[in-house]
């Protein structure tokens, strides 16, 4: 199953013990070696298991919702349960999957390695971030069973409903507050590691693009997350003290909440997508055997997306009654963000042009990403233009657009990253056939799921509705069918990866022919990552050595 076989690996596997056998701090054994670890790689894996758990839970909630909508009227649940379902699906997917998934798992594991160092700058803070993440998740569970019952506001917690509802909003926003702390501390750790721990020979333009994307993301995490934390505190103050910040009767402004919420939550979608773009920038050149096209342009576009993406929040509010000037300005700014995103897509496609393309599950999933993300981006322009947005605002079109970007984009990048780095993280290779079957099923299911939703939205079906008119039934049935195919595909991919853990750890150090530093060390890596001092290349995507070795072997 190893597509590059052993000829591309850097020598024979060393006898060095991997981080699995070497606890950090030394002397810890058993479960303590994990729960008290300072090792960025163990923490990455601990995040991975927690995030996979939440992803599967939220995916099943989404599937139940779609099952309910497959036919008119009550199918499997009542309207109150349905409201709670879409709230939980959104909260879990956003705060416990999409935001932390790639930075917390793959960022923790690979950022220090790609920078040629042995750990993050604050290893203990890293462990603390993981505990905050777990506590935040536990609070989310508590909110279901204590207080006034399931929260039913949607993940946006809009006032005045979130202040007046009997649902347990207080505990849920507390959970999101704690998760925000975890996210901020991870961002702080990455920015500091980037500046202070980077190998002394590695200049800025020698840093791999995945790490650049994490750096851009980390800044957004540090700067934007406090805004949502404060906003959630304000919601709590409203619920308990009724101070009237958002109530016109008491001199408040109801739109203030929406401004504050989207000041974070729009940049948050870039927290979710930027690391995914970084993953794709790693995978495409490796399987094209060609240096990435427009390295500097991709670096600049990552930073540009982080900056411009923070200036467009009010495009979620065109119909809220805010001023026309504001609608004009934010619409204009929104179109600017499309430019750096397009720079990346063109660069990936240009990288493949005349490349020696080797198909593999990570590449296949990356191609799905490019296609689905592009559709997501283009449908975003329909929503960014103030005129067309009025027609499709709060319809299934918005939900479908969001899922094209977040699941088709971040989700598929996450699956691609799992398949790309799995041999490095665990030292095992998985079977390709089930991976392809799962990926094809997930991609087809995705299209069946969300294309009908785009059309339903254009026809006027509102989002978050429990029931609908007869003319929307076919579309909803198709979307439900797609959801089953999608979930089946994702589960096949996950089960295939999990089953591979039974295999012996025989994955070579460089199974794909990668050029970044993680492929120069054993699989799985030793505790302090590098046995010998890393050799920093003049350009991180220089494939001349890999290509020369392939040609020598007559490939």
């Amino acid at each position: 199953m190893v597509i590059m076989s052993s000829d591309l690996q850097d020598g024979i596997m060393t006898e060095t013990q991997s981080f699995f056998e070497t606890p950090s701090p030394r002397g810890l054994t058993g479960v303590k070696a994990w729960l008290l670890t300072h090792d960025h790689k163990r923490l990455g894996l601990m995040y991975m298991w927690a995030i996979l758990f939440w992803f599967v839970v939220a995916m099943i909630l989404g599937l139940l919702m779609r099952t309910e909508l497959m036919s008119q009227g009550r199918t499997i649940m009542g309207p109150e349960v349905y409201n709670s379902m879409f709230t939980l699906h959104g909260v879990i997917m956003i705060f416990l999957f999409a935001i932390p998934a790639i930075p917390a798992i793959f960022g923790n594991f690979f950022l220090p390695i790609q920078l040629g160092t042995d750990d993050v700058f604050f290893p203990r803070l890293n462990l603390f971030s993981w505990y905050l993440f777990m506590f935040g998740g536990l609070f989310a569970i508590f909110s279901l069973f204590f207080g006034g019952g399931f929260p039913d506001t949607g993940w946006t917690f809009y006032v005045p409903f979130s202040v007046s509802t009997k649902g347990n909003v207080s505990l849920t926003v507390t959970a999101a507050f704690i998760l925000g702390m975890s996210s901020m501390l991870t961002g702080l750790n990455f920015v500091t590691t980037f500046h202070r721990m980077r190998h002394k020979d590695m200049a800025l333009m020698q840093i791999p693009l995945f790490t650049w994307s994490l750096y851009a993301t980390a800044w957004v995490q540090i700067l934007a997350t406090p805004v949502i934390s404060i906003t959630f505190v304000l919601v709590m103050m409203e619920r308990f003290l009724a101070i009237g910040l958002f109530e016109p009767d008491k001199g408040g402004d109801p739109l203030l909440y929406q401004h504050l919420f989207w000041m974070y939550s729009h940049p948050a979608v870039y927290i979710m997508i930027l690391p995914g773009m970084g993953v794709i920038s790693e995978i495409i050149p490796v399987f094209s055997r060609k240096s990435i096209f427009g390295y500097k342009a991709i670096v600049i576009s990552s930073m540009a997306i982080a900056i411009a993406g923070s200036l467009v929040w009010a495009h979620h509010m065109y119909t809220s009654g805010m001023s026309d000037v504001s609608v004009f300005v934010f619409s204009l700014l929104t179109f600017i963000v499309a430019v750096p995103s397009a720079v990346k897509v063109f660069s990936w496609v240009s990288t493949m042009y005349k490349g020696s393309i080797q198909m593999s599950p990570p590449l296949f999933l990356s191609l799905c990403f490019i296609y689905l993300f592009t559709v997501g981006g283009l449908t975003g322009l329909v929503l960014g233009a103030a005129g067309t947005d009025i027609h499709v605002h709060d319809t299934h079109f918005v939900v479908a657009h969001f899922h094209f970007v977040m699941l088709g984009g971040t989700g598929f990048a996450f699956f691609a990253a799992l398949h790309y780095w799995w041999p490095k993280m665990f030292g095992v290779m998985y079977r390709f056939r089930p991976a392809y079957i799962g990926a094809v099923s997930a991609a087809l299911g995705f299209v069946f799921h969300f294309v009908p939703m785009l059309i339903l939205g254009l026809q006027g079906m509102p989002r978050r509705y429990y029931d609908y008119l007869p003319r929307y039934e076919t579309g909803n049935f198709l979307a439900g069918f797609g959801a089953y195919l999608l979930v089946a595909g994702v589960l096949v991919m996950f089960v295939n990866l999990l089953l591979s853990l039974r295999n012996p750890r025989t994955a070579p150090s460089n199974p794909w022919g990668g050029t970044t530093l993680e492929w120069s060390i054993p699989s799985p890596p030793p505790m302090e990552n590098f046995i010998e001092p890393p050799v920093i290349k003049g350009f991180p995507y220089d494939f001349s050595e890999i290509v020369a070795r392939s040609q020598q072997d007559g490939r």
């Binding site: 500046h195 202070r196 190998h199 805010m322 001023s323 504001s326 300005v329």
Partner: protein, 95 residues
């Protein structure tokens, strides 16, 4: 990359001077709250508060003695906050 830190310890005299300045500015905040300046009430109060925050950042938090990375990082946060507040006025000021 630089991994060794340079320590910089401020003298008691300098710290005391900053403390005195902070207390004086606090007194000024209280004093101007009794003077009605119309439109200028908020700008004056914010200016004094910003001066106090700057003193704390520069001396107590050692920003004055840090390298450019830390300085630019800090300035970017101020810039971001200014944009967040400023851009809401595209809405509020034109309703």
């Amino acid at each position: 990359m630089k991994t060794t830190e340079q320590t910089h310890i401020l003298s008691y005299g300098k710290l005391a001077l900053v403390l005195v300045l902070l207390l004086m500015l606090t007194g000024m905040t209280v004093a101007v709250s009794y003077v009605h300046m119309g439109f200028w009430n908020v700008p004056v109060a914010l200016t004094i508060a910003s001066l106090k925050a700057s003193l704390v950042l520069l001396f107590f938090m050692h920003l004055k003695y840090e390298g450019p990375v830390i300085r630019y990082s800090f300035l970017s946060t101020v810039f971001f906050l200014a944009i967040m507040i400023g851009f809401t006025f595209w809405d509020v000021a034109f309703r």
